[in-house]
């Protein structure tokens, strides 16, 4: 296994709604917390990759953090912004250019479903005007087809939400910390059939920063380095079924998640059976179900049994979204992918408190998916 890059410090600003604190300021707070965690000063940081979707250009935060002259590159890559920042930081260290750097993601979105910029997304005005420019519709349609093909039940969707909110209730950084039952999830307002209000995550706020170092220097900063064994970002190929698509080809392609997952396992030299826990993109309850199979952790349809049997719970065989996922944390786009990595670092260090996965997990996996058909995967180990 390659162990050239380690995460030596992590910082997070609470997810949810923080009135009076801008998205950028939440990013700054996350950076300060990450520096404190690694025991480094801002002036020690040689380079940064950072981004947000709706809260400003990341490089302007140096005016608050200190004008040290470091190399700071803004990243804008939709839902994979955080993953792309991490990918870039990882490869900057691997290439030998720098020894110590930081990946930053933060955001702050207006309330309600994401307002889609149809022109920015390369779509005609007619698409939004006709009522088709809603990411929520795609999620409803993808899981509806999947349930039809593979026999996933409504109850299983409800159980995914129940687990997310229960895990969120044990996470002091989470937005939604009140447990709900499967039945409450099923009975809440139907937003985009078969998905209800409690099966969808909401756009939110938050910030995450991760400090990366050459693995052979990690001991300078931490006695619990977490090694980054793979960081991969992939875009869609012909025939995949993606969000905000006026049409899809008759030919079927499995999508960017399958591609990024395979590439990440190849890079790390391990397989799905070696993963002890995973944070999988759960924009809605159905996404978590489908992504279990797309990432190679089960066959299509096996999720029905696994979730009904509690296998994806924190104490189960294969814990998924131990911090409550997007469902309990909300989705500040720029920060969301890095939140998953933050959680895995805590779990691998054994510092996840009430939601700690038992039996000293050694290898953990993250996966993001988003518009317009992009996916990012990381594999971490201790």
């Amino acid at each position: 296994m390659s162990t050239e890059v380690a995460i030596v410090g992590i910082g997070m600003h609470e997810f949810g709604r923080t009135e009076g604190v801008s998205g950028m300021e939440q990013g700054v707070i996350a950076v300060r917390r990450a520096c404190a965690d690694a025991g480094v000063k801002w002036e020690d940081v040689q380079f940064a990759f950072g981004g947000s979707a709706a809260a400003g250009a990341a490089d302007t935060m140096v005016s608050q953090l200190g004008l040290t002259g470091l190399q700071f590159i803004n990243v804008a890559n939709g839902c994979a912004t955080g993953g792309s920042a991490l990918f870039s930081a990882y490869n900057t260290i691997r290439s030998g250019v720098f020894d110590l750097g930081i990946a930053i993601g933060f955001d702050k979105h207006e309330r309600g479903a994401f307002r889609v910029d149809t022109r920015g997304a390369g779509l005609g005005n007619w698409y939004g005007a006709s009522g088709l420019a809603l990411t929520t519709q795609f999620f409803g349609m993808k899981i509806n087809r999947y349930m039809h093909e593979y026999g996933i039940s409504h109850s299983t969707l409800g159980k995914v939400s129940e687990k997310a909110f229960r895990n969120g209730s044990m996470n002091p950084m989470a937005w939604r910390r009140k447990p709900i039952s499967e039945q409450e999830a099923l009975d809440s307002l139907m937003l985009s059939y078969p998905l209800t209000q409690y099966m969808f995550c909401s756009p939110g706020e938050g910030g995450v920063a991760l400090i990366l170092a050459r693995a052979d220097k990690a001991h300078l900063y931490t006695d619990k380095p977490i090694f980054l064994n793979a960081a991969v970002v992939r875009s869609r190929r012909f025939g995949s079924f993606e969000v905000l698509a006026p049409s899809i080809a008759l030919e079927h392609n499995a999508g960017p998640t399958v591609d990024s997952s395979k590439a990440a396992f190849e890079m790390a030299g391990i397989g799905p059976e070696d993963i002890d826990l995973a944070q999988l993109q759960d924009t809605e309850a159905g996404a978590e179900v489908m992504h279990m199979a797309e990432n190679g952790f089960c066959e299509h349809g096996e999720q029905e049994f696994m979730i009904q049997a509690g296998e994806t719970e924190i104490g189960g065989k294969f814990p998924v979204n131990t911090d409550g996922g997007c469902l309990a944390n909300g989705e500040p786009i720029g920060a969301s992918g890095l939140r998953q990595v933050y959680e895995n670092v805590l779990q691998l260090r054994g510092q996840a408190g009430a939601r700690q996965v038992p039996n000293d997990p050694k290898v953990a996996y993250t996966h993001v998916y988003g518009a317009p058909g992009i996916s990012g995967v990381t594999i971490l180990s201790r």
């Binding site: 309600g112 005007a129 006709s130 420019a133 409803g140 307002l189 049409s247 899809i248 080809a249 008759l250």
Partner: protein, 141 residues
């Protein structure tokens, strides 16, 4: 009240038998909707305009249960009068799956695989008092 299409070049209008306007790749025959110049399948740079089939089968569907944000949405967003509408992908044999509003919004009446046909439906009224219309698919009775 005059009727005007939500946009030009996406469906034939006015027409007794409206059709969606797409493209076909000259090199590989791949179909695209809406019209575009390059082919995502073979990277070919030459496409020709084609009218897509009017009938197909429902590949998947959902129901838009809350008013979309306006803009971009041009239809009714008043929570008191908003009516849920169906959205789905209809598979046009030998061509492509196209996304559209559905005239049916009752989950009990929507079934994957059912026959659907293209229709034109009212969407809103514009500033000049014209009725703006868009395309949708309706179950074949």
């Amino acid at each position: 009240m005059a009727q005007v299409p939500v946009t030009e070049g996406v469906f034939t209008w006015p027409s007794e038998t409206p059709q969606l306007i797409g493209s076909r790749c000259v090199a590989c025959g791949n179909h695209m909707f809406p019209v575009q110049a390059g082919c995502p399948k073979c990277t070919g740079e030459k496409t020709e305009q084609v009218l897509l089939g009017r009938r197909g089968t429902l590949w998947t569907w959902t129901v838009q249960g809350f008013p979309p944000k306006a803009p971009p949405y041009a239809g009714d967003v008043d929570p008191k009068t908003f009516k849920a509408f169906g959205v789905g992908y209809v598979e046009l044999p030998g061509q492509i799956k196209v996304e559209a509003r559905l005239t049916e919004a009752d989950p009990e009446k929507l079934k994957i695989g059912m026959e659907m046909e293209l229709v034109i439906v009212p969407l809103s009224t514009d500033a000049s008092g014209n009725e703006v219309v868009t395309f949708a698919f309706a179950p074949v009775a």
